[in-house]
């Protein structure tokens, strides 16, 4: 078995899991200020209350696995994205705290301040994730010593910002479908309109980003000539996107949610296809790129990690299922709620 390829795949699985799961709760966070009353806002927060912490663990595990499997990539990327990642941390911490503390006091000013913090932090975190993905698609100025040779401006190129917008719109759509699933009555009826609006914004961003990618980033699609079967995923992606309005129209929110999750999974897959076999593409000289082979840990470590992952994965799936089963159904504000 090619362990490097296996770990590239597993990282993809972790990133997909993270994007789908934290995707809806970041999306819910960005929609938070659209809720009008205090009760509605509590419903919004509690729709993700028991789950966001477990969702964020996918990111922590993704980071840990990247460090472990491809230490050079982890070191190069994290030191290159120094300030954006510090801001990301800032946003993630603030998000966690704003949820934890918002409903702890009755004061309107207190609650409003945390509402804004929750909204802002969710938006900033989502946007920064998108920029990081966009920059990786484009490639970074990496020297022969595997070190980043650019500065902050290299990370804020138009393409990175465009992908940032795409990810924001994707999570907005994903989050509104999730909220629709978790709410009832008048509030739910209003969210129905949010789903349409966020979907159209997402579709616009998707079409523009696809066009710009095809026109300006040739190495992003070169893998398709080598692995033509991967085009099936493109087809599935389009079908999944097309199914979202259909499901919304027929008021089948669960199918809409699954389609939206499948759309995110397909986008992560395409991101992987654009990179493979590189992890960080060097825009200075393609030979200096960090690949899944030249930046990895030893075969022995990758093997040990594979064994650990195979032992642990069934447990992780088992208790993720238990937790989602326990907290299924509509939001129910009790005395343990936020």
């Amino acid at each position: 078995m090619d362990l490097n390829l296996l770990w590239f795949g597993l990282l993809g699985v972790l990133l997909t899991g993270y994007a789908i799961l934290d995707g809806f709760d970041l999306g819910v966070g960005m929609l938070h200020l659209r809720a009008r009353t205090d009760l509605e806002r509590r419903i919004v927060m509690n729709s993700i209350g028991p789950l966001w912490d477990g969702n964020e663990v996918w990111l922590v595990t993704f980071g840990g696995a990247l460090f472990a499997a491809f230490p050079h990539t982890y070191a190069t990327a994290f030191s290159a994205f120094y300030l954006p990642f510090m801001l990301l941390l800032f946003a993630l911490i603030f998000r966690a705290v704003s949820m934890e503390f918002r409903s702890k006091r009755d004061s309107t000013t207190w609650r409003r301040a945390w509402d804004v913090a929750f909204f802002g932090a969710s938006g900033l975190a989502t946007f920064l994730f998108g920029v990081a993905v966009g920059d990786s698609m484009m490639g970074l100025p990496i020297g022969p010593d595997m070190e980043f040779q650019g500065d902050l401006l290299d990370l804020l190129q138009p393409y990175g910002l465009l992908v940032g917008v795409l990810v924001v719109t994707t999570f907005l759509m994903h989050g509104s479908i999730y909220l629709y699933l978790k709410t009832e009555g008048d509030f739910q009826a209003r969210i129905h309109a949010w789903m349409w609006r966020t979907f159209s914004v997402f579709l616009t961003a998707y079409i523009i980003t696809t066009a710009v990618t095809l026109a300006t980033i040739p190495h992003a699609i070169s893998n398709f000539t080598q692995y033509p079967l991967a085009s099936v995923v493109v087809l599935l992606n389009i079908l999944a996107i097309a199914n979202i309005p259909r499901a919304i129209y027929h008021k089948r929110p669960f199918y809409a949610f699954v389609s939206s999750a499948a759309t995110i999974a397909a986008l992560v897959f395409l991101f992987g296809m654009a990179l493979f076999p590189n992890l960080i593409y060097s825009s200075l000289n393609a030979d200096w790129s960090l690949t899944i082979y030249n930046s990895s840990s030893s075969q022995k470590t990758l093997g040990i990690m594979r064994n650990i992952a195979f032992i642990g994965m069934p447990f992780v799936l088992a208790y993720t299922t238990i937790i989602y089963w326990t907290f299924r159904g509509k939001v129910d504000l009790g005395k343990f709620s936020y």
Binding site: L89, F90, L92, V97, A309, I323
Partner: protein, 484 residues
């Protein structure tokens, strides 16, 4: 410029790790206590233990959230600030980190949701199981992170591959890496420190309730439970600390010399300095009180055998002395204080006047600061004492930095973290304060005064406050209750 980056990066790391480490020992310690409380409820079905567990779960959850939020920073900053180090140790830490992510993080955070939000949604048995899983997850997490840290202190089971920037440690034997010479003693000491904190934390809150005559029944029981846990682990810390010091003298003699302020090897037995003021210029500990030969006797069993002093190491390989010396001695002094305070409490318990001794209860209210400081002090001593190495004798801290990160960036992020941490800390204290002031009140209103079974905690608590009417309305005497 590079000096500034190094200094600032170390400052940032100490800031973020010390802030983070307020929370993990608290949640490890409280987690274990929650398991005891809920297990007692499962056995006795006495709803007061459910109320007790519910109250402490709230305190636990707030602290856990803080731990998660500040913990993500830890994982990021190895890559952001210490990229060269990450390249060097990635292969070795890889398996430990993968294990931590898979076994610990998912376990803790998943079941925490059931713990906090699941009281009305799952059965008692499932809730108890979730509590057990969260407590276990916290221990797993400690295991893997301590393995990684211990490997830095006493590397084993690896070989060095490559040169220059590509030089790194690669694993040769997984289990030798995991059970490197310092793992076991360090792990035990870390867990013991966490359980002491858990004990003192619940005692502090309970003593406050007793003093304010609120939630008396619950508070007394919780206090005695905390006292039992704190006493056992305060003694355990003494034993475990001794073995750890012996390991340090074998594996990192320069570090032990720094702990003890032992500058000169000399001839004959080495003294143990109880306190003093370190003068690094003159290489001496001034105004010190030292017991001759004690260090030699404790470490080697022979009071006349000299212990290696700092003079055995070249200037470039010596750790700083002041910080490790003071923090190490602070930890030990606090450890002795915990034992003394616990024994004092047991004396009044034996006299049956524990809960009438108001001054002692006030001492317990404030003594919770002690274990926080001791846990921090121990780690500061261990990590500063490891200098100048980031990986003992293999990689210097000054060579471990990210090559592309500049001092201004580090400074900016320190400011960012300092602001958010001061803020977070205040909010944490405020929320804890409100929760403690609110107390377990609303849970108790649903409690039915009906306890057929007499648990060991009831049995232990009743002695401390004999003849007092418990919340159940009956005069509490174990013999009578058992007979009724």
């Amino acid at each position: 410029m590079e000096v500034h980056t190094l200094l600032l990066s170390r400052l940032q790391f100490s800031l973020t790790i010390m802030f983070h480490y307020i929370f993990p020992p608290l949640t490890i310690g409280l987690g274990a206590l929650l398991v005891i409380m809920e297990s007692t409820y499962m056995v006795t079905k006495d709803p007061r233990y459910r109320a007790m567990a519910k109250f402490w779960t709230k305190i636990f959850a707030v602290s856990f959230a803080m731990g998660v939020a500040s913990g993500i920073v830890m994982e990021f900053q190895f890559g952001t600030n210490w990229a060269t180090y990450s390249r060097y140790v990635g292969d070795v830490f890889g398996s430990a980190l993968a294990a931590e992510g898979i076994f610990a993080f998912f376990l803790e955070s998943g079941f925490l949701a059931v713990l906090v939000f699941g009281w009305d949604r799952v059965s008692d048995r499932m809730h108890w199981f979730s509590t057990l899983m969260v407590a276990l997850g916290a221990v797993f997490s400690a295991i893997w992170i301590v393995v990684a840290n211990s490997w830095q202190q006493t590397p084993a089971g690896f070989h060095i591959v490559g040169e220059g920037i590509r030089a790194r440690a690669e694993i040769t034997d997984f289990w030798t890496m995991v059970f490197n010479p310092s793992t076991v003693h360090r792990l035990l000491h870390v867990l013991i420190g966490a359980y002491i904190l858990g004990g003192f934390f619940v005692m502090s809150v309970s003593a406050f309730y007793v003093l304010k005559k609120r939630h008396l029944d619950l508070a007394r029981k919780t206090f005695v439970l905390g006292l039992i846990v704190a006493t056992i682990f305060s003694f355990a810390a003494l034993v475990s600390g001794h073995f750890q010091a012996v390991t340090v003298s074998d594996t990192q003699p320069a570090k032990l010399a720094a702990f003890e302020g032992h500058f000169h090897t000399g001839t004959g037995g080495s003294p143990m300095t109880l306190w003093g003021i370190v003068d690094e210029e003159e290489e001496a500990v001034k105004y010190s009180l030292a017991i001759p030969g004690l260090l030699s006797w404790l470490v080697s069993g022979d009071a006349s055998k000299p212990i290696t002093g700092l003079d055995a190491f070249s200037e470039a390989d010596r750790p700083p002395v002041s910080v490790p010396f003071y923090t190490y001695h602070l930890m030990i002094a606090l450890g002795m204080y915990f034992i003394f305070l616990c024994l004092l409490a047991w004396f009044f318990y034996w006299r049956r006047t524990l809960f009438a001794t108001r001054w002692l209860l006030w001492v317990f209210v404030f003594s919770v600061v002690g274990p926080f400081l001791a846990n921090q002090g121990g780690w500061v001593a261990a990590e500063v004492g490891r200098q100048p190495w980031i990986v003992h004798k293999l990689l210097r801290t000054s060579d471990a930095l990210s090559k592309v990160v500049r001092a201004e960036q580090v400074l900016a992020s320190i400011v960012l973290f300092a602001v958010i941490y001061i803020f977070l800390f205040l909010v944490w204290i405020t929320v804890l304060n409100r929760k403690i002031k609110a107390g377990p009140g609303d849970e108790l209103s649903e409690v039915e005064p009906d306890s057929e079974k007499w648990s060991w905690i009831d049995a232990a608590a009743v002695r401390a406050a004999p003849g007092e009417t418990s919340m159940t309305g009956a005069t509490a005497e174990p013999a009578e209750r058992k007979g009724s």
